[in-house]
Amino acid sequence: MSTSPGKIRMILALALCATAGVILLAKGAGESAAAPAPDDAKLPDVARPSASQPVTGLVGGTHLDKTPPRETKGLDLVKMGWTYNCMECHKLFPAKWHYDRPMNEHKDLKLDHGNNRFCLNCHHPTNRNAFVDYDGAEIAQANVVELCAKCHGTTYRDWKAGVHGRQNGFWDADKGEKTKLKCIQCHDPHSPKFKAMAPLAPLRYPPRAAHPPGADHSEPAGHTDEP
């Protein structure tokens, strides 16, 4: 035999080194692939879980319900993609200042906006697809915030500073963008007061206080509805 035992030993050692290197490399690659955390700001680009990980759990922060509180009606239908042209009807019907008698359309509108009780305070008299400014200029539907700012100046100032209304996304502008909700995504412009909503179940902490004796409300503390 031409190969000595020493040579064989060397070859074996080399092979061992190579396998160890491959394993280490693979491990490093796996770690770098697992490193990026799920990112909920850009939902479509959620990092796919690695092959070993089943697609379970709350991927990408979908567990947080970020829907604006206002129910979908009227202008929100535009937001959802239902584009309609108000002027199809309103070129026939002249502008009316008072919203006083029942109409065929818009019967579901209940105007409850304080002293602001005229349609044309906000809607443009000749172009019903737009809103109206003080000087009669048009405000596009997309710029509805400027319409509300006509009266609610201090609130507008707070909103611009990011203090009125919810912001989502990133507080750190370097890391990502924040999204702002517009007025009508939370407030119904025809009845802007926030509606009462059902509270979620109360906490049971500490556990022995689950049914607090002499609680100052008459209702039993046990909340059996969905969590």
Partner: protein, 324 residues
């Protein structure tokens, strides 16, 4: 003949000579022994957990978070990931996010806007991997919403267990309370093992593997912001939030004190905390106190700001404010 008392042998019984244990002494002794054995068993209980695989030797010998080398922490976090996968069937990503230099977090809450819907408290449960299916299990939210009587900020007459049909109720206002991340934090001062401390960005954190569960910090906290976990969270696969961090929302061992960390696994990534993201009225404002243009500084400069229990001198980083 004189009797030498030394010579006299008093008639002693054999029992007196050998002093056998009478029944009473025996029972006493065995009771003491039982207590001793029980104590020993209790002391050795961690070893039983060791045997069952609940804890590993590495867990027992683990150092304090701030003394860990980065590579050791990496190993520990990998072990925690594996443990979560074994117990819950989902492998989370546990990270160790460090404080961002030049950032100090501040939080403000608008008492004029809050309607007490408890959406924040429930988002907290989801974000921080707490059990939430059973109504009786909804305990561990770090946010407690207080229903207050209008006219004063009186915690004595407030209620946490309110459950009417709709909120807000007439004559009431609502004040959610969570950890205030105090600058002079009493909770970190009383901890006998220094398992809790303030990070440079102001977040008060707990090393959940170091905490012994003595609950001194809960007694010290004037805001009732800390929670003791009496049981392991009951979570299904789909309920686990895989974005976890060692100091915040990883699944904690039973028997430790937990707290709000301003969602540091989100906020140190530049994101807003979970409770802010779900607030339907936008009552919550979060930002960097050291950035003069941040939203939180807009509040502090322009609004009427109220500090809860200002008189106790904790200097919180959590503020309440009013709109009108």
């Amino acid at each position: 003949m004189n009797h030498d008392p030394q010579d006299t042998v008093s008639p002693r019984t054999i029992e007196q000579v050998y002093k056998p244990i009478d029944r009473r002494t025996f029972l006493k002794g065995s009771a003491v022994a039982m207590v001793g054995v029980a104590g020993l068993m209790a002391a050795l209980k961690p070893l039983l957990a060791l045997e069952s695989g609940e804890t590993t030797l590495d867990d027992l010998l683990q150092k304090h978070y701030r003394e860990l080398k980065p590579e050791d922490l990496k190993k520990i976090m990998a072990a925690l990931e594996a443990k979560t996968e074994k117990q819950y069937g989902v492998r989370p990503t546990i990270r160790d996010l460090k404080p961002i230099p030049g950032v100090e977090f501040g939080y403000a809450l608008n008492l004029t806007r809050c309607i007490g819907c408890r959406k924040c408290a429930h988002a907290c449960l989801k974000e921080n991997n707490q059990s939430r299916d059973d109504a009786q299990d909804i305990e561990m939210s770090y946010i407690r919403v207080l229903e207050m009587n209008k006219g004063a900020i009186n915690l004595e007459t407030s209620s946490v267990y309110y459950d009417p049909e709709t909120v807000p109720q007439k004559g009431k206002y609502y004040m959610p309370a969570q950890c205030h991340q105090c600058r002079q934090s009493p909770c970190t001062k009383v901890c006998p093992v220094q398992a809790t401390w303030q990070e440079p960005d102001g977040v008060v954190v707990v090393d959940y593997n170091w905490c012994i569960g003595c609950r001194y910090c809960m007694a010290a906290c004037p805001y009732d912001a800390r929670r003791f976990n009496y049981k392991k969270p009951s979570l299904t696969k789909d309920q686990i939030n895989p974005n976890q961090s060692y100091l915040s929302n990883r699944i904690r061992p039973k028997g430790v004190v937990e707290k709000c960390t301003f969602c540091l696994h989100r906020t140190r990534d530049g994101k807003y905390p979970a409770c802010l993201e779900v607030c339907p009225t936008g009552a919550r404002v979060f930002g960097n106190l050291l950035d003069p243009d941040s939203e939180i500084n807009y509040i502090l400069n322009n609004k009427r700001v109220y500090v809860l229990k200002e008189e106790v001198g904790t200097l919180p980083r959590f503020y309440y404010f009013f709109d009108k």
